[in-house]
Amino acid sequence: MNATWSRFNIVSIVLGFAFLYLPIVLLVVFSFNASRLVTVWGGFSTQWYAALFRNQGLMDAAWVTIRVALVSASAATVLGTMAALVLTRYTRFRGRVLFTGMVFAPLVMPEVITGLSLLLLFVAVGLDRGFLTVTLAHITFSMCFVAVVVQSRLISFDRSLEEAAMDLGAPPVKTFFQITLPVIAPAIISGWMLAFTLSLDDLVIASFASGPGATTLPMKIYSQVRLGVTPEINAACTILIGIVSLGVIAAAIVNKRREVQRRRDEQAAMRLD
């Protein structure tokens, strides 16, 4: 490909990136603002980070969010993987199309509707709203994302691996845990990470499903912002951005390394032939 830096290319790339990242850059910059006023630069300071860690309300909310995300991501991964297995393996049962549609519907369902219906359900069965209900709600909407990720891996999975394991004497359950699971593990881990992030930044569904004592970080930030944006919130968001970016970059580096290593191995193997 012949990449020339024409003026048009430069303008489009600057505009595009500005559109994407200017708000985030502003937020990060102002988290280091010494002034209390969010839009007026008063010199560099890290005082809001100190204040953030002293803010018990925000810290509690962060802890709740992490716990919800850990539990819901894990449960959603198990359920989503099971759904993906059924969808790819048992292709001949009645109502498969309907079932597929039903598993994937929450992907496009407006969150408000998901949240509201969950709220109605919790009220109807008399479940007190709190940690448990938020977690259940998050499992519900994130498991379909896991199912999509795992299913796409399972479609390219060579079934003869499982047949070979059984042929060598491994019963089906053992085959699943010793062969299938390790082979599709990268997809399951990606699914888990996706579910974790989805749970971490969900506001709408948590607002419906949560109750006293189970305020998540997005809810807390949103409610505080309504009283006015404080640099503390900027600091909290900057930390979140930092964590997410680190995760993404680390994953990319690991993937790249593995691919390079794999290619090198394959070339070495070709030469041996």
Binding site: D158, S160, L161, E163, A164, A165, M166, D167, L168, G169, A170, P171, K174, I179, P182, V183, R262, D265, E266, A268, A269, M270, L272, D273
Partner: protein, 379 residues
Amino acid sequence: MKSLGSIRRDFAPWSDPQAKPYIRFENVTKRFGDFTAVNNLSLSIFEREFFALLGASGCGKSTLLRMLAGFEEPTSGKILLDGQDLRGIPPYRRPVNMMFQSYALFPHMSVEKNIAFGLKQEGMPKTDIDRRVAEMLKLVKLERFASRKPHQLSGGQRQRVALARSVAKRPKVLLLDEPLGALDKKLREETQFELMDLQQELGLTFVVVTHDQEEAMTMADRIAIMDKGEVMQVATPAEIYEAPNSRFVAGFVGNVNLFEGSVAERTENTARITGGSGAQILVENAGEAAIGNDVAFAIRPEKIRISSRKPQDAVNALEGEVYDIAYLGDMTVYYVKLDDGQIVRASMLNAARIVDDPLTWSDRAWISFRPDAGVVLTR
């Protein structure tokens, strides 16, 4: 002693009426929905036999193998292994192992672990597993690669790992699904002989599925030619080639010329066949063909002689014109268009470097053959 083909086989339990078949398919039918993959098939395979199932894709040969391995159950009929009915026995309890076409090596395990997998399932003690794995690695000459992962191996090495893994448990029967399909030509030829040696050494019964007739001819003691879920002929490679039982088998294995016609005269062994254009040939091996039957005389290209003048002594000689010539180095193939329009393929071994008076395109030529050079087919 006279026999079909150019080799003598001392191992022939199939011609001994006392011998008990080791694997027996009895009226096996397998349907997938409306599609009949295997149709009322019966077949016997003997102990220590190298048996090949040969056919085009979709002929049911792989289904047959998968039923033996236990991945598919017959819709009707039964499969016996050493006298035991296999119905209902899951793949992980059958004393057969399979080598898969894709090799199906476990990508997250090293070569060693792959080979040890089956032994571990048996609950074999660790020291015994280690010994057996070392033995297998030596057998397939992969000692140096024990700790490699499958993706760090070449195609030929992967094939050998798959082989080592499938024989590690010393199964009674080894099933091979297109074992050499993914290898290039040169490696395939070497590996054919390695497989044959291995089978001799381990004394196992091999059942191999292949669509490559050369592979089947080289390796197998007997070949079953399959078409549309049915066995067309089961015989040794030489019998399949020299005495096919039908037009399909004759055409499927190697090249063949078919002279269609009807039987005009018949003696105990010979028959006179009149072709559509009135040409007559006298043949032996007439089998059950009766006067008036529509038959085909099948003759292989290398058994036809081609000459520029009519041979004096030939019983059967037909005249035509050289239509096309393919020079292949070791032999030359002539396509002769007979005066009735039929194109006959005749091949000549280039035993001499220098040829007197060679033929060229559009020359008049005679083809001739002995009465016993082919077979009469009624099917």
